[in-house]
């Protein structure tokens, strides 16, 4: 006699969430993940087929903080598989210009992501510098914006690794720091770590945008051209 496998008996849970785009309610437990190229994909609304990948990092984290265990488990699995999925993605599939943002402080990620998106970039954010290096080698971003002092890997060292890698040597790197603010640290960052720009924290959106425009003027010109077209129409 065989004992029935109780583990495979499905237990039905539902978690009704409201869609960020069309505001309709749907069951997130049953909803598939979207097809976006993201560190952590979001649920697809069955009503409008939209997802929440365009929401800010802060909004996504606030949402995740309140989800029930059944959704949290799905999110944990999605996070675990996220890096592998990104590694399997070809750089040509990413919407350009594309920026990778790295900081261990979630609030700085929120501020930086907003400013970089406003400058016309698609973004992936991560709190882990080692993960950032893997993503950068796989997707070859146009820009990496990183904090300097982080656990496990210093952002300046991340920059050096990127510049030494054949795949990422041309990626522009901006390092931000609240600690290494003096001129000596700044010069050292340029000379020893080959950073392209060094910004003091707290990051101000206007200062960051100026730095982006200096490093990647093509993106700035395209943005200007697009806004002129919008005004003309």
């Amino acid at each position: 006699m065989t004992i029935p496998d109780m583990a495979v008996t499905p237990v039905h849970h539902i978690a009704m969430v409201s869609c960020l785009n069309c505001r309709s309610y749907f069951d997130a437990v049953a909803a598939p993940f979207c097809g976006c190229i993201a560190r952590e994909r979001t649920f697809t609304c069955p009503h409008c087929a939209g997802c929440a990948c365009n929401a800010s990092y802060g909004q996504r984290e606030s949402f995740a903080a309140g989800i029930p265990p059944v959704l949290n488990e799905r999110r944990r699995r999605e996070r675990a598989e996220g890096i592998g999925r990104l590694q399997a993605t070809k750089p040509g599939m990413v919407q350009r210009p594309f920026a990778l943002i790295v900081d261990d402080d979630p609030l700085v990620l929120v501020v930086a992501e907003r400013a970089v998106r406003a400058a016309g970039y698609s973004t992936i954010v991560t709190r882990s510098p080692e993960e950032a290096f893997v993503i950068a080698e796989a997707l070859v971003p146009d820009l990496v914006l990183t904090d300097a002092l982080m656990p496990l890997l210093d952002g300046r060292e991340l920059c050096r690794r990127l510049k030494n890698s054949e795949l990422t040597k041309n990626v522009k790197v901006i390092v931000m720091s609240a600690l290494y603010r003096g001129i000596i640290h700044r010069n050292r960052a340029f000379k020893e770590f080959s950073v392209d720009e060094f910004l003091s924290k707290p990051i101000k959106p206007a200062v960051l945008r100026d730095a982006l425009d200096r490093l990647l003027p093509r993106v700035a010109q395209a943005r200007l051209h697009f806004s002129e077209l919008q005004v003309a129409s």
Binding site: V17, S18, I67, P68, L107, D147, A178, L179
Partner: protein, 125 residues
């Protein structure tokens, strides 16, 4: 001019100017900071109880970037001191963490009054 000891928190209008007029974003940021601060202080106390002083230093560093937006003077200075304190001064570290808790409690109370809560972007039912 302000009196000595008076809290010097950032004004909402200053942040709105910094973020180019986006008041909703600023209020959202304040709400996120309040939540993040609570978690960071709890973690700091746990690390202190476990005598993991290097973790206290790392947590202080991680919080410092956020505090810079709301309490760039005193609050950031305490965090900078905690971050750099030698691990052989646990009693001093305890006093500093207590001072930080008091300061952050006042700051989050100030934020609750001065920064209106934004409507939730997502909702779970």
């Amino acid at each position: 001019m302000s009196a000595v000891g008076e809290p010097q928190y950032v004004r909402r209008s200053e942040l709105i100017e910094m973020f180019e007029g986006d008041a909703e974003f600023v209020d959202d940021l304040a709400a996120q900071f309040t939540a993040q601060c609570r978690v960071a202080l709890n973690d700091m106390n746990d690390a202190l109880a476990a005598r993991d002083l290097s973790r206290v230093s790392r947590l202080a560093h991680a919080l410092k970037g956020s505090v810079a937006y709301f309490d760039p003077g005193y609050g950031q200075a305490i965090l900078r001191t905690i971050e750099r304190i030698s691990p052989d001064q646990p009693e001093r570290l305890r006093s500093l963490v207590n001072a930080l808790e008091t300061r952050m409690e006042r700051l989050t109370r100030h934020l609750a009054v001065a920064f209106p809560r934004p409507a939730a972007s997502f909702a779970i039912h």
